[in-house]
Symmetry: C2
Subunit: 424 residues, 2 copies
């Protein structure tokens, strides 16, 4: 089965919006073991759309067309498809009734422009859209099914999951079951990880992929078929063993997500004291609903005065050791923890760059501490030649990894091959 995608819309082609629909769709297909083989992106010119529908229908078996189903004059997908096949547009009575019911439920009269959304090519099979007014449909032309979906991301996702996937599985007999495990790693480059996993003999049907998702590398373990799926947990464990401390989470997108799930409903509480990470630690947790159940506070004490006044750092500590030092960051963490007697506190202080470095403490030097009720752990890492953004996101990840290891009862400080560390 040869799958292609056609993305329409001036705003996508002209770069006014980044095409996240395309990446999302390809990624979902991959997770079902299906490869998108080509993607064509074009604007809202009728003759271009007609030409590309005709051309690609000669090469592909199924083409997901995204966008151009709205009510305005630049939404041309249905008209172009009708012209490409040489058939008229016909009003779909079922969809018109659905739209009218939707507007009347919302006490609004349906604008005349919406009527256009019920006009489908004569041979089209309607595809329901329970979450919007854009009607999906599919048309057979030459070798291909062209499958039309709305540009609104939420509506696209719904239609792909609920209808497109079942359709292609049935139409093309894709009953091969697949499963995916994702391991999030921290502090090791892709080639380092690959070198370690190269020697692994994988059972038939299991493949390994890598995805850079800074500051992490994600390892994807993909199993196709019942036999491979049954072996996936064992292979996953084996990979975890081989990689040791490099793996920091399983089936999570970020370490903040892992921390959120470990702290939620745990009864444990956390305070944060940030300098160079500047609110990144805090805002990553606040992004999750329910974080208020464990997060006491996140104090971005950006100035030295603020470190003294808010966290109780001793002025002499700042004078003797500097703001970016083990001594300061430990006092920051202990101070933040003590305010509300939180179970844990994390603190960061560093030089994010691009300026502000010294010979002794160059740009990319970051001190990180974890305070618990029993004591304090700290380290000073080196992140040379990284952007300001990456210094901040790597430091945040290392801080969360320290807390994660503490929560698991493991050694809090570990070596990362791609992250340097100052001797204490």
């Amino acid at each position: 089965m040869k799958l292609e995608m056609i993305c329409t819309g001036e705003e996508v082609l002209s770069g006014q919006i980044v095409d996240t629909n395309a990446a999302w769709f390809a990624n979902v297909m991959m997770e079902h073991g299906i490869e998108v083989q080509r993607r064509v992106t074009l604007g809202d010119r009728l003759e271009d759309l007609i030409a590309v529908f005709q051309e690609r229908s000669l090469h592909a078996d199924i083409i997901l067309v995204n966008g151009g189903l709205g009510p305005t004059s630049d939404d041309l997908s249905a008209e172009a498809m009708a012209k490409a096949k040489g058939e008229p547009l016909v009003e779909n009575a079922e969809w018109r009734a659905k739209m009218e019911a939707w507007f009347s439920r919302n006490n609004r009269e349906m604008p005349a422009s919406n009527l256009k959304q019920a006009l489908l090519p004569e041979s089209a099979v309607m595809v329901d859209n329970p979450v919007g007014t854009a009607c999906g449909f599919r048309v057979k032309l030459n070798r291909a099914w062209l499958y039309f979906t709305p540009g609104v991301p939420f509506e696209l996702k719904h239609m792909v999951q609920e209808q497109f996937l079942p359709f292609i599985k049935q139409e093309f007999g894709l009953d091969a079951k697949v499963a995916l495990n994702k391991l999030l790693t921290l502090g090791h480059g892709e080639s380092t990880l690959a070198d370690k996993l190269e020697a692994l003999e994988l059972p038939a049907g299991i493949t390994i992929g890598y995805r850079s998702s800074m500051p992490h590398i994600e390892i994807k373990l993909f199993a196709r078929g019942d036999k491979a799926i049954a072996l996936l947990p064992r292979v996953t464990n084996h990979v975890r063993q081989v990689l040791g401390t490099a793996v920091v989470a399983e089936n999570r997108a970020t370490l903040a997500e892992e921390i959120h799930h470990r702290l939620l409903n745990s009864g444990l509480s956390l305070s944060l004291a940030e300098s160079c990470t500047g609110g990144m630690l805090t805002s990553q947790l606040v992004a999750f609903p329910g974080s208020s159940s464990y997060l006491h506070q996140g104090l971005v004490t950006y100035s030295n005065e603020s470190k003294v006044r808010i966290l109780g750092v001793q002025p002499s500590t700042l004078d003797d050791h500097g703001a970016v030092s083990i001594a300061t960051v430990e006092e920051m963490a202990m101070g933040a923890r003590a305010i509300l007697d939180s179970d844990y506190a994390l603190a960061t202080s560093g030089i994010a760059g691009p300026d502000g470095g010294t010979e002794e403490k160059p740009v990319g030097t970051v001190a990180i501490a974890l305070a618990t009720k029993g004591g304090c752990y700290s380290q000073m890492i080196q992140l040379p030649r990284r952007s300001r953004e990456l210094v901040r996101s790597l430091s945040s990840a290392v801080a969360y990894d320290m807390l994660r290891r503490e929560l698991l009862g493991e050694a809090v400080i570990v070596d990362y091959s791609s992250i340097g560390r100052f001797a204490k």
Copy 2:
């Protein structure tokens, strides 16, 4: 001149990375008045690459090809181009010497695999890449120039700005000068803005575009030709007048960027007290180097206890009015300002959702205050039916807009047609 783009690489096609290069390139071209007419994205299969080079070279005048110039076996762009044209790959002595010099400057021996990067199709014209080891080149096939660029974003951008743009301007005689002004707006929908600007009579050569960049809508005023460019400042002023308070910045990507530039080197200082925005206000400023010169602290007092202990909010205020109230947020702002006697402090407290709303204060209710040395301004806004992310980013933008207006000596609180407000 018909311009197309071909993006190569499994990681782009399969959605493992979102193709920001494509959006960036199309956007830059637009700003130079040139439209990308079609974009084809495909993986690393040699026969697919050959076929698409041959096919599109029949339709376009110039094709920017991105990716596939690296040293590994899946980098196939040069080989595919040579095969598409039916000519051999030939080592480019100049590029080989450049690579060898680069490695020797870095005290490293050049790996054999890099030699591949000096192999270009026989008829290719080399395009210098001063910032990487991937050599650019261009080849004429059929009607088109195919222009090969590296996939690394930084290298692509350099090559497009320094070499691709001058080349197409010379080759296709594009000497039409263009200029662009961007107005950032807040709190009004695209249709509301468009309705107001519809009646505007624009001089020939000036066009208006809209770009959604949540929580903002950006208005692009595009002038083509000397005469239009000369009129652009006047048209920009006219648009600002028509839109009144809707315009919050000119040629800035975000309000945080505007605030950063207004505070940097101003001698003024700022403290932040955040609850529902949860570090978003703070981290948006810390993202800019130099923010330490004016940002005293950002205190994310997520729990009530923290509001009391850190900011000095009265427990009775929380009891009588609740955490999400004008009274509480004013005490938060005044408390944050007083700690280090900052010139200004902003405070937010709200219900970001998806849960936690009440009948009186539904999800999307956010109280915002600005404290100055002279007093305090506050408002309570309503953002129903927005995601948690959007409640947080809209609240952050409104807070920064209050500070911006204060810095300009304008009325601090204004009406936004798409943002509701509780009566005080």
